[in-house]
Symmetry: C5
Subunit: 360 residues, 5 copies
């Protein structure tokens, strides 16, 4: 998980609509790709000059324009100017710390999403922002860096007769949402594996690293949760708005994505409960262990300390010649064996006492 962003908002005091890219620069050069398709034909192209895509604004076949890399503010401004994207929406696209949201106006929908990905090497979850601007005949999507999660979708578009080719931008929007939500499951699976691993560790031999692993799990889940709840709101709203942009046939698909989101949330919440339970388990393992250690110390100490004392007594140098009361035991015939017997009796009594108390 990334550290808490040092800059949640770069532009305190600046005018609204001032376009500033907030986030890391993740690709060298923004890449714009264009899909134009309908049931009969499709066209796919990497865009060199923005003018190429301007006709999409009004021409009938469904167009999907995907922009990868958001740090080129001029590009965003140009696109925004031509496609009449509201300055505040443009700001949201460029500010990658935005929370998921949906804005609906008569002729367009604006959706901001978080795409989560489990980062294998670091073992953490990273997120990037995906923004979508949709009208009845074109859909603009913006992503921070190139992810292959939309590739299966692209493949479907290339396939003649596929459902996506038969439907409009609303179905395309659904497919994008579906791809994003599906990746939440992948991230959750990875987290589930980590939870299993930590749990095994916890039961076998908990160490200080186990503690850190639980703590980091809890933080990942917190991060996931922060992204998922607003996502659920967005999709729930999508299924409820009565916009002409969303056809009835698409609603059933959106409701399906909504169900998936609810399942993601429930899984996150139950993982959080499990993680809290593991913390408790860790703490009580620790107490239990300390208890064991202290018991060993106590058994050994309380057995030998009185014996050592006794040995010390008969190591005293009182002069037997000065008085008949001075350590006559030292001269007894059975003195030494008797001391051993006494010692064994004391030790045995102690052991019996500990046994009765159930200490071992």
């Amino acid at each position: 998980m990334p550290r808490r962003s040092r800059r949640t908002q770069k532009k305190a005091g600046a005018s609204p609509g001032t376009l500033v890219y907030i986030g890391e620069k993740k690709v060298d050069q923004p890449v714009v790709t264009l899909f134009v398709y309908n049931n009969e034909r499709y066209q796919e192209r990497q865009v060199e000059r923005l003018e190429e895509i301007y006709p999409c604004r009004t021409n009938p076949p469904t167009s999907w324009i995907n922009v990868t890399g958001l740090h080129d503010v001029r590009l965003l401004e140009e696109l925004g100017g031509h496609f009449k994207i509201h300055p505040l929406a443009l700001e949201d696209i460029a500010n990658t710390t935005q929370r998921p949201k949906l804005e609906e106006h008569g002729d367009h929908l604006f959706v901001v999403l978080k795409l989560l990905k489990y980062d294998e090497p670091s073992g953490g979850i990273t997120g990037q922002q995906v923004s979508i601007w949709m009208t009845s005949n074109y859909l603009l999507s913006f992503e921070e860096n190139h992810e292959d999660i939309f590739d299966p979708l692209r493949e479907r578009i290339r396939t003649a007769g596929s459902q996506v080719r038969r439907c409009g931008t609303d179905y395309l929007l659904y497919r994008l949402l579906d791809a994003v939500v599906d990746h939440y499951f992948l991230a959750l699976d990875k987290l589930g594996e980590r939870i299993d691993a930590v749990e095994d560790e916890l039961i076998e031999q908990p160490t200080k690293d186990t503690l850190r692993a639980i703590y980091s799990l809890k933080r990942e889940l917190l991060f996931l949760r922060k992204s998922t709840w607003p996502l659920r709101e967005v999709i729930s709203e999508l299924t409820r708005i009565e916009s002409p942009l969303i056809k009835d046939a698409t609603l059933v698909f959106l409701r399906d994505v909504y169900d998936h989101t609810v399942r993601v949330i429930e899984t996150i919440e139950s993982y959080r409960d499990v993680a809290a339970g593991m913390m408790d388990l860790y703490l009580s393992s620790l107490s239990h262990k300390m208890n064991e250690v202290i018991k060993v110390l106590t058994i050994i100490s309380t057995i030998f300390i009185p014996l050592t004392f006794l040995a010390g007594v008969y190591g005293m140098n009182f002069n037997p010649e000065a008085s008949p009361w001075n350590m006559p035991e030292l001269n007894w015939y059975w003195g030494y064996p008797a001391v051993w017997l006494v010692m064994a009796a004391i030790g045995g009594a102690m052991l019996f006492f500990f046994k009765k108390r159930g200490w071992f």
Copy 2:
């Protein structure tokens, strides 16, 4: 309880409607059984060829088609195709990680349930998915493996004049729901017994296993809870939808099942509270025990350590001949008995101090 499923969703990026079975293969061969009945007669048969059940779609007497084993995707597709089951519903039937839900359309109801069973050998609760597709004259139910929980219901159908024979598919649906919810009570009873057992252990002699038992109880309850809340929603919705498929006479029965579900939930919640309380009790028993151990250590140590020191002093070898100040006690007449007296006084004072502090 099963481990967190490694694959919550197998098909990230795939097209919706692609039928993939998600879950373990629990039976070798899917089995399809058919009940056709009305008040006068009934017919029961194991279906060999799917064509046998096609007439059920339109013919008047109530039909109940039960499919056991869901891994045969082709069978599902064929059924789905003939009975016009929506592709997304078909997907939900095959994906056994679905959460309970209800979908209502003009002419059919689609219900997904979790059937819970206490698994005696492993001592955990396992769940299987039961999906129901109901129209006004037939009801399709899908289960992962054969459970005998519907046997009493089958027996009732075989009995002439029973209520289920007199009513339609909505009453049949109620009976299926009722059987499922009743098994939640059985699982809860088993958990209740385990809670009692753990509690007895906790009061008599808590061990590290007690801790694990509490932890596992908490996880079972979490799992139960995750299944039960959506189940409650489903049944609550069933009592409120105004569908022509549900007759008014059946509503009072559905409300009864709903009451049972609420009772299940309340019992789960109070078990969770009890389990949380047991964790606290365990932790404080542990502290209490450690306290006792440390007290014993302290009493023995603090009594004997000063005495040992004293014995050590009179074991020193200062040469009495070198000076009259060198250990003259060793030559005193009452030296040795006096040392014993001093030691006894010190020990007694210590004991008195501990007694006053209420240490034993």
Copy 3:
């Protein structure tokens, strides 16, 4: 508090409407008493043959039929048959694990309540189920065993001119509810006394029994809470349903009972908070005590261990004749007193150090 009921539901899989008594048999023989009254006259009788009460169904004066003892299923069936009680309601009456609920139909109300009683000898709270079937001219009440909590009410009915004589079954229902809720306060008072006692113990000398007492308090409160929230719902619903069975004049009384229920709930919730606080207090008392014990151990040990070491050194037997460097101190003139001085200095320094640290 009773242990978790081993059988929450005896009849998984059985047909609905199969009447099975679930609960302990608390009285030998069911007793049916009948009150028929109006403003002018009243009649009170213990019923021998059920036929005696059949006229109540239709005859105008208000009738109150009270059944004590529910295990005689045949009696219930006969009553149910004659008074046209719905089979599911009859089942609820016989199944004493029901949660409080209200069912309203055009011509009757069906109420299930829990009557709580503080059981003096066992020091726990026990509950019995009270079910009420009310129409405009008669009221049937069912209780598991004979409780005297309705005796003051019976006395009022016997008193000419009392309000209950002037009003109908709805006021009678209110009086029954009021009597039940009033007994919640008695149970709470007893619990309050126990909380005070536990708190005194906690402040004076907490023992392991204190812990168990807190744990048992928490469980009683959990049990109380589980009964009270649905009771509140039931009474709240009673004040809101617009049933011809409840007259407007009675509504103000029902709202009063409702206020009492809310007060019961608030008291339970604040008792729960107090109990949670006591658990924390107990745990930290324990830590505090262990701290004290360990301090004593540390002070004694760290003072005497170095001294014992020193005594040990001068108890070594190095041969002074073999070398002038072998323990010349033993032959010094002031050797022995010097050792005592050094020891006193070490002990004093230790004490000073502990004092400065605020250890005693």
Copy 4:
């Protein structure tokens, strides 16, 4: 804070409307004072015979009748009879364990409040019940004992031309509410001071008394909270009911009191959070301290125990004459200094080890 009231409800089973005073007797003799005022003139009088106030019921100028001392049930009954107070309301007035509530009927409002006061000597918060019965031209207020919190209000009434003189009973009601809520702030200020004091103690030198102080703080806050939430409801309802008794001009003042109540609640909630945080801080201070103590014990013990062992070894009495292998070290030339060197080395190594571990 008072102990949990032994009698929350004295009259289980009694008829509703039976007037019983529940609470401590706080004044010897009930005192009734009467203010009659309008814009031009005012009259103030201590009432000797109740008949004096009967004309207030119908006569136009605004009257405020204040009753101090509620244990004289006959007085209440007489007042109730004349002013037509509903028996249940009268019961609420006499039962001082009532929770704050508002009842609105066409021609009157009935309000029950808790007046909180910080009791300087005992350092706790005590509450008394204030009930108000208001109609369009008179207002009856009932308090358990005489508090001077209404004195500033009385002063305003005596002042010609003050707002209270220009307005009716609704403004008077607002002023009473405002005075009551203002005293919540005073109680909170006192609690805030105690929190600061406890916090200082916690940071400087936490003792067992600190723990008790936190516990008692938490209980006071619980008590406060229990009174304040229903108060908020009451005032919120007052601003929302559309009663002819509350003029529009008064609404803005009531909303102001409402804002104050919300602030009281937020302060209570944040104090509760702070108190919970202090408990955590106390517990971890305790752990930290124990850690320190144990470290000291460990350092001293682990350094000296091996040394003492070594000294013990050379204090053994093996006979060097019996064998050349029997303790030849004792006769070495550098034997004794060598032992000291070895001991110093062991001690130094231990210290180095502890230093490296960061133990001191």
Copy 5:
């Protein structure tokens, strides 16, 4: 963070509308500045005599009057009198312990906000109150002391053709809100840095200061939270009221500020979760450390205590001449080496036992 204010409310019992300044005096002399602007021209001036600003009340161009320093009650009264500010609003302006709120009347809006600032030297968050009184053509803002957070806004007003110059008071209000909310992000960023720092400390070497740092973090977050939730309500209400004062074009901007507030709240809540997690981590680090310390103590003690006992035994002075059973070992040929061997065996066995238990 400031201590809990000793005086939350200075005027218990006083009449409403009595103007008393509650808060610290933060500037010497109140400063009133005036901006009058429209699209064409603007005028900026520091006001010497209040009469200068009176024309703003009715004259058309947009006026922004900013008052810095609120302790001069007479100034407030004069302003309030001329601009017809309701006495209760005036009281809220002067009482700087007010919670954020919005009041809407036909011709004006009254907003109270908290402006938070991270105080670099003390490392805490301080708040000042900003109140705004807005009508269709002028806006009065009141702040406790001069903050430069509105300077960028002033700069925009000075810039010809800026959006603020083209719009009315509602847009000005939005810009003020936006500036305030943006500073919450700055405060959160600082807190985020502190959280990172504390976390690093926690992982590397937690000390008692870490604990205090966590506690202080939690209190800052509590303070932030208390200010932010009502702020969110205020802005949410602003976007929903249908006031002629707020133009539709401004609504989209207000919704944007609302989104920012929600993000602030989510960040605060997740920081609170993180802080709670850090507390747990700290406590378990502490336990872990204590465990380590106790293990070292136990290993050293349990190895050497039995050995010391053995050495003590052979230091006893039993007289070999008195009996052949008195310590014959001392005269054995291999006696001394044998004792060393036995001791080494015991020590080795102990080490093996600890190794097997995984103690080091």
